[in-house]
């Protein structure tokens, strides 16, 4: 009946062993499945973003024979900046387009034709003329920036042409230009060198990138020293009593407060009470500092706690003062752990949108920010803004901006990890 009685201990162990092996194998498989899901999700994310965004790195240009006609431009002296400013560059672009498609005569068709070239083309002509006044009166073969709809159509021509906002006539013109190699794509330098724009072909990520950089700089410069100092005080100096317990509980709770709350706090304190300007990286940095401080304090305290007491005793036993003990021995050993906290905090701050919306960093800002007091936006907010825009060309720019954000994040973390490795001299 009960055959376990009849079996020897060795046999029972043997039987149990098989069960244990199976359990072990199951456990390992669960782990592998979890990791695989993670990897698949990551691959999916990257393929999606890259396939969507790769197009944004190339921009279509139209070849046009442009005559810098003095009368049409209304410029008599190409060295006079005032005249250069008000020149009718659109006019000479239109002339060139009409010359290329002489059959277009109707008003409406003309308007459709003109919309093939970006309004950015005239800025480019202006700067060409400023740099080289001899151009006045000559005819140049130039590649000018195409409109975003042309760009999207031309880049997707091979597979499934997207027509969108183009009418049949425009498509015909584009095909004709493409056939005679008067359309080509070049690397999209505009994307990396300019700020936001309502025209997708002129919109760039640099403004947001600089905004993020400045904001994070402010955040790092404030939150790391304050966080480390607070952690040192709480760990090394503060007497443990009800009050410090209360502070500790509060710091832990703050780490879990939704970030939008910090935005509201920033709005109330920095903007409304201190009357600081809206949309500036300085205030953004303040708000993100409030948000990252708990993370940095908590990890710094953990790092300080992890310093072996024997090292502290050795230092004190040698007659080091408390400050010397902390600066010479505790801090160097705890710094790598503190940096880990800073990395997590900074990565969190980089991806944060909600608190910055509250202090107006969501504004449409074309100018590149030059300092922490210039209006700016940040990468995640820029992504949010572009994702919200109806133009088809902004879709790929959204993905491209995500790539830039990820690249920024990876660069930042790589640097921080390199720094940590360098400091990590645990002999």
């Amino acid at each position: 009946m009960n055959n376990s009685d009849s079996m020897s201990v060795a046999e029972r162990v043997e039987k149990n062993l098989a069960k244990r092996y199976r359990a072990e194998k199951r456990f390992r498989i669960f782990g592998m499945i979890s990791v695989s899901i993670g990897i698949i999700a990551l691959i999916g994310l990257f393929t999606q973003i890259i396939s969507n965004g790769a197009g944004a790195f190339f921009q279509t240009y139209v070849k046009l024979d442009i005559t810098f006609d003095a009368d049409e431009l209304g410029i008599s002296d190409p060295t006079d900046p005032d005249q250069l400013m008000i020149g009718n560059y659109d006019g000479i672009v239109r002339d060139a387009l009409r010359e290329r498609f002489p059959s277009v005569t109707k008003r409406r068709e003309k308007r459709d034709l003109y919309s093939l070239v970006s309004i950015g083309a005239s800025y480019r002509l202006q700067s060409d003329l400023r740099q080289n006044p001899q151009l006045l009166g000559t005819t140049q073969t130039l590649w000018v920036l195409a409109d975003d709809d042309v760009d999207v159509y031309f880049k997707s021509r091979e597979d499934e042409p997207f027509i969108g906002r183009l009418n049949d006539l425009q498509v015909e013109w584009i095909e004709s230009l493409a056939k005679s190699n008067e359309l080509k794509t070049k690397f999209n330098t505009i994307f990396f060198t300019s700020g936001d724009s309502a025209e997708p072909e002129q919109a760039g990520i640099l403004g947001a990138l600089l905004g993020s950089l400045l904001t994070l700089l402010v955040t790092l410069l404030l939150s790391f020293p304050i966080g480390v100092a607070a952690a040192i005080y709480l760990e090394e100096y503060a007497k443990s009593n009800k009050f410090t317990d209360f502070i500790e509980v509060n710091i832990n709770n703050l780490a879990a407060v939704p970030s939008v709350i910090f935005g509201l706090l920033g709005l109330a304190i920095f903007l409304n009470f201190f009357n600081m300007p809206r949309s500036i990286p300085l205030v953004g940095g303040f708000v993100l500092t409030l948000m990252t401080l708990p993370t940095i304090i908590i990890s710094s305290r953990a790092a300080i706690k992890a310093v072996p007491p024997s090292i502290r005793q050795a230092a004190l036993g040698m007659g080091a003062s408390k400050m010397q003990m902390i600066l010479h021995h505790v801090l160097p050993l705890a710094l790598p752990g503190m940096l880990t906290g800073a990395i997590i905090g900074m990565a969190q701050a980089l991806g944060e949108t909600a608190p910055l919306l509250m202090i107006g960093m969501v504004a449409f800002i074309v100018e590149l920010p030059g300092s922490v007091a210039d209006p700016a936006t940040v990468l995640p907010v820029q992504i949010f803004l572009w994702a919200d825009s109806p133009e088809r060309a902004f879709t790929e720019r959204t993905s491209a901006a995500i790539m830039v954000l990820l690249a920024f994040l990876i660069t930042m973390n790589t640097f921080a990890i390199w720094l940590r490795k360098k400091l990590e001299r645990r002999w």
């Binding site: 036993g317 007659g319 080091a320 003062s321």
Partner: protein, 314 residues
């Protein structure tokens, strides 16, 4: 010091069955640079009963002590760890403190350079003077005190820095050396005194933590003597070491005792017997017996001491 015997008050803790006797204890404390002492010796062969006496037997006091401990009690919060200890430590003697685990000997040792200050709940009562100066005086700064009274810990704890930096750390923070040549000299003499120079002279700039356990402990001793302390406290310095490393440390202690006053806490009675001039036996926070090492191990006065050294508990 004077050769005239200085009379020490009869230790009030001694019982009626004891009587006072005068001895020249120069032979008993070979390194003590004092003249005669008035000591108390047991007259009868009877052991002091554990239940009957609560006071230290033997000769806890001496003339011209380097460190004078009077009625010191240590509390951790509500819990009392050391009970009214009276003890003198003579100049250039090696005094060993033995006793079962938790008997308060380490706590007592750590009072001598105020390392107990780092424990928030720790409170010390009574007086401890170093050459007549009260080390628990409210105005006293622990920094110069710890420069005078160095400490070597149970587990070798070199700093995670190079051997050179380990040794020079003390002199640097106390401002004893500024020029490179001075520093080099301090490092070399300290390492030589610690018997480590020959082994590490070619790798002074390599991490101190890369040394073996015994070498690390000698490095810690070198680090301690680099600031030329007067007293060295050792808290079970060999408990984490193998017998060969232990032998080297013990040799070193014997050498160091010519220039330094050494108080050593140890779990090994053999070690106490080998290295010390006097031995103090602690039991449950009380200093039970202090006497010349030889006497403690051959003919202890107190039955608790006897029980301990004969291995009945510990």
């Amino acid at each position: 010091m004077s050769d005239i015997p200085v009379s020490t008050p009869i230790n009030p803790m001694l019982g009626d069955n004891m009587q006072q006797a005068t001895l020249d204890d120069r032979n008993n404390i070979p390194n003590a640079g004092h003249g005669g002492h008035t000591v108390i010796e047991e007259a009868t062969q009877d052991k002091v009963k554990a239940t009957e006496k609560n006071k230290t037997v033997g000769k806890p006091l001496c003339d011209n002590p380097k460190i004078e401990v009077r009625d010191v009690s240590v509390f951790y919060g509500e819990k009392q760890a050391v009970f009214g200890v009276d003890l003198d430590i003579a100049k250039n003697e090696v005094i060993a403190m033995i006793g079962p685990s938790g008997c308060g000997k380490s706590t007592f040792l750590r009072c001598l350079n105020r390392m107990n200050d780092t424990v928030d709940t720790c409170r010390v009562e009574g007086s401890i003077t170093l050459e007549g100066q009260d080390i628990y005086a409210p105005k006293l700064d622990v920094v110069p005190l710890r420069a005078k009274v160095g400490m070597v810990f149970q587990k070798p704890n070199p700093f995670p820095k190079s051997i050179y930096e380990n040794v020079i750390y003390g002199p640097k923070i106390h401002g004893l050396a500024s020029r490179r040549s001075e520093m080099d000299e301090i490092v070399e003499t300290s390492l030589r005194k610690a018997g480590l120079w020959e082994e590490v002279k070619d790798r002074l700039h390599q991490p101190g933590t890369g040394l073996s356990g015994g070498q690390q402990q000698r490095l810690c001793i070198a680090r301690t003597i680099a600031v030329s302390p007067e007293v060295i406290l050792m808290d079970e310095p060999c408990s984490a070491l193998d017998p060969i490393a232990t032998a080297k440390i013990e040799e070193l202690i014997a050498e160091l005792s010519q220039n330094y006053t050494i108080a050593i806490v140890t779990h090994s009675m053999q070690q106490a017997a080998r290295v010390s001039n006097r031995t103090a036996y602690f039991h449950l926070g009380k200093l039970i017996e202090v006497n010349d090492t030889q006497l403690v191990f051959t003919n202890p006065d107190h039955e608790l001491t006897e029980a301990y050294i004969t291995g009945r508990f510990g």
